[in-house]
Symmetry: C2
Subunit: 305 residues, 2 copies
DNA sequence: TCAATAGTGTCTGTCAGACACTATCGA
DNA sequence: TCGATAGTGTCTGACAGACACTATTGA
């Protein structure tokens, strides 16, 4: 077979050799990092002996020891090695922070605005990892970094809908994100979401209007991940990534509730979740002063009918 | 206010100055490109005078003039400028290929496996643009590049479900993607999707097992974008980005059908789509030999009730 | 006994799937 | 008249929202 030649008469091999010698570093390149949002759900202890613990959505944050944003908290992340897939890079990051491996992880979004890091042009690929509360006892990695879990609370604090020319709609929503660790340190960010229809093209802009203690544009990234979590929990089985092997249906329901931010009806929740779970013959040992609950397992076959 | 100092006693300004002088290019960086998948829906003319034209989903591809993959077809794309947001970069790419501006575009996914480009390490952020058939007459950009529209057809050709240990499921699906231009050039790719549950963690791998005439991993990227299109058309209004300002409900239904790959019932489709459209007093002029259809417009307010 | 959780039964209205039917045009 | 598209009416079963009810435990 005759090798294909380009306009300079080069074979592929010749082209690649010349390319690597002359073309490779012709332009200035941005740096690429991977940020991993690590979520789990944790019990919050309650005084009353008969009451069940409340569930809280938690995210892992790292305290910055150097400029920029010194002393503020950031999502764990780091530079992509030149010989490492970006997915592997995110897994490595997760391992370094938590010593946990073999965990559910998905790519979220890539953030590439010019001014998002004052040091230089950095494009950041964000991943979302969900770990179950079984593994929560695992210590944070042996880096000298301060890594801590923060509870995640998102509140809609303003919601404006406008009519323009009785034809185009503008929606402006203001959200407040609050992160609280077990020392009651509180970080917060206000995020404004504007939805406009211009020339019958819908445009949504999301921007941080205030940030306290959260480094870079990480408030916005966390906000985005919460939207994704809420969406995906409705039509996938990702919630089970947050559960231990055995769990009660009430625990599972509470995980759904904390992510969706609303109460669900037990009867209906059980009917809907039924195909995704397997009833075991084990009973929940913890609950006192009320009827004990049956433990369930995830049914990985649920999509196959 | 006292300026914050890091461990070396530097202020933020001192740190940034030192960083830019010494740290910036410490590590080898990957290159970053943006690829834009440009979709539209086109009429396919029919001989019978009373019949309506068929709708086809089309994607714009560029013929490669140089190594690697010389002579094959690729998604339009290019390097991100160092002083340009990645979203702007995708818009620029779209403008260069189609001369169209102000168009719906969303980020799809970021592809960052090490070996995906034989020239060097390239991380590619893909965007999806939808343009309406009104603009279709616009010529491809004035680049010397050959740019052409290809019809997009995706077929599920194998579907295996396995039980392992009567406990874990494995699903393997084989898809064939076919791209055909108006000279009847046919490009194709076979994509294998494997879904496994290992240690109760669900893992999905997607890989190209065969590629004819489609450069790089672009068959996989197109496949991914089709999944996203199908998903989003069900719960968002993106379909209207593919429509001209005035359209009949049958046209709209055909667009849904070609993207979803299935026939829909007219009565139900009309009931469901009703809140998203506004009936006008215009009638469709084209159709001959049958009842004329009312023209509708998109209702950008539909989400506000 | 009582407070709390576990778990079930059932009514109601909505809506998707399915299909049949009417309306209107041009050759 | 007929072949094609445009558009509507309605039956059926499934299922979400809502609420009430029963079951079981430990202090």
């Amino acid at each position: 077979m005759v090798p294909l030649l380009n306009q300079k008469g080069q074979t592929l091999e010749q082209f690649l050799k010349a390319y690597k010698e002359h073309e490779k570093d012709k332009y200035e390149k941005p740096s690429v990092t991977v940020d991993t949002l690590i979520f789990t759900v944790k019990d919050k202890e309650i005084d009353n002996y008969r009451k069940l613990p409340k569930k809280e959505l938690m995210i892992m944050m790292i305290k910055r020891k150097d400029h920029p944003f010194i002393g503020q908290w950031a999502i764990p992340g780091g530079f992509v090695n030149i010989d490492e897939d970006i997915y592997e890079s995110a897994k490595r990051e997760l391992r370094e922070e938590t010593n946990i491996d073999n965990i559910y992880m998905e790519q979220l979004y890539t953030w590439g605005d010019v001014g998002r890091d004052p040091r230089m042009r950095i494009i950041s690929v964000s991943y979302m990892a969900l770990i179950n509360s079984d593994n929560l006892s695992v210590k944070a990695g042996d880096d000298a970094e301060e890594a801590e879990w923060f509870s995640v609370n998102l509140e809609l604090i303003e919601d404006n809908k406008k009519l323009v020319e009785n034809r185009f709609a503008e929606v402006a929503q203001l959200f407040e994100l609050k992160l609280i660790n077990n020392k009651d340190e509180t970080l917060s960010a206000k995020i404004k979401v504007e939805h406009k229809v211009v020339n019958s093209v819908a445009e949504t802009t999301t921007r941080i209007v205030e940030s306290n203690g959260i480094a870079f544009d990480h408030g916005k990234i966390i906000f985005y991940s919460l939207q994704r979590l809420r969406n995906k929990i409705e039509y996938t089985d990702i919630a089970f990534q947050l559960m231990p092997e055995y769990f009660t249906l009430t625990e599972l329901q509470k995980v759904y509730e904390v992510i969706l931010g609303e109460k669900l009806y037990p009867a209906q929740f059980r009917r809907q979740i039924e195909p995704m779970v397997i009833k075991t013959d084990k009973m929940h040992a913890e609950g006192k002063g009320h009827r004990p609950a049956v433990l369930y397992k995830f049914n990985p076959l649920w999509r196959l009918e």
